[in-house]
Assembly symmetry: C2
Homo-oligomer: 146 residues x 2
Amino acid sequence: MDVSEMYHDEFYSFLTGRVSTAIGRRLQRNFKLIGLNITAEQWSVLYFLWNAEGISQQELARLTFRDKPSISRLISNLEKQKLLVRVNGSGDRRMNQIYLTAQGHRIKDKCMAQAEKTISEAMSGVDTESMRQAQALLEIVFNNLK
Amino acid sequence: MDVSEMYHDEFYSFLTGRVSTAIGRRLQRNFKLIGLNITAEQWSVLYFLWNAEGISQQELARLTFRDKPSISRLISNLEKQKLLVRVNGSGDRRMNQIYLTAQGHRIKDKCMAQAEKTISEAMSGVDTESMRQAQALLEIVFNNLK
DNA sequence: GGCTAAAAGTTGTTGATGCAATTAAAAGAT
DNA sequence: ATCTTTTAATTGCATCAACAACTTTTAGCC
């Protein structure tokens, strides 16, 4: 599409990601609301670990669309909070395999409930079909840029 | 809409803002490509100043959807780079009025060209009508959360 | 006018990001 | 078997964000 067809507000909003910022803030606020002291970014790492424990930091970087240093530090903070542990790779010793602690498992349901609450709040007044179409468009944009 | 109707990927993508992250990175990369050493966040401040010089930091915070400390530091960095200056408010001395330097004005066209380039790259293969609908949806979401 | 409350900015702390450079271990090449 | 190249992770540096606490100046109120 042609840029000249965009309004100023759309132009600005598109490039700065105001909506994503708002969603991220609300997510973190909803965690805090029930006494969960984790950040939205930490949640994004845990999200994949709840599904597939023992994966490497490299793999987490790929899944969460972050670079290796970011993951390294996110993992360090999560380790400090005793939500997961690094285990030195048995076969390949360059690699760390990441495992959740009991506490890391325990908070899953509460976290996911707040994540769903956040989506419900965000999606108020939005119909499913519009959402489908918007998601499809965002997928195209993502593939254009990644 | 109901959360249970979302796919896993959509759910994750929505809450983490992968697309916005990708857009922000590309924008910054496109600035760097032509030798402009400004961040995407700095651009978002300049964007409003190119339109309305002399506004306060408070006003910039409102416009860019950031808090006052964030704006304070963004302004400090932009001042270090000699792109703008703080002028102590003539009427109300609590306030700073922000003015662009000659250099701040000079980079406008180059910055906006790269911003438009970024949108073109992102929007490849997207038709205007789909974009309109997606923007309308994001506007609803933003108003739900702001 | 003088006291209190509100508003505009700043600073400190902690967590996150991007990029570049580095370390350690594995894989490939000859 | 040794040397070189890749790969996984970490560290350093600069910037940005959220939250809380603080300073300075203005506004409100009696």
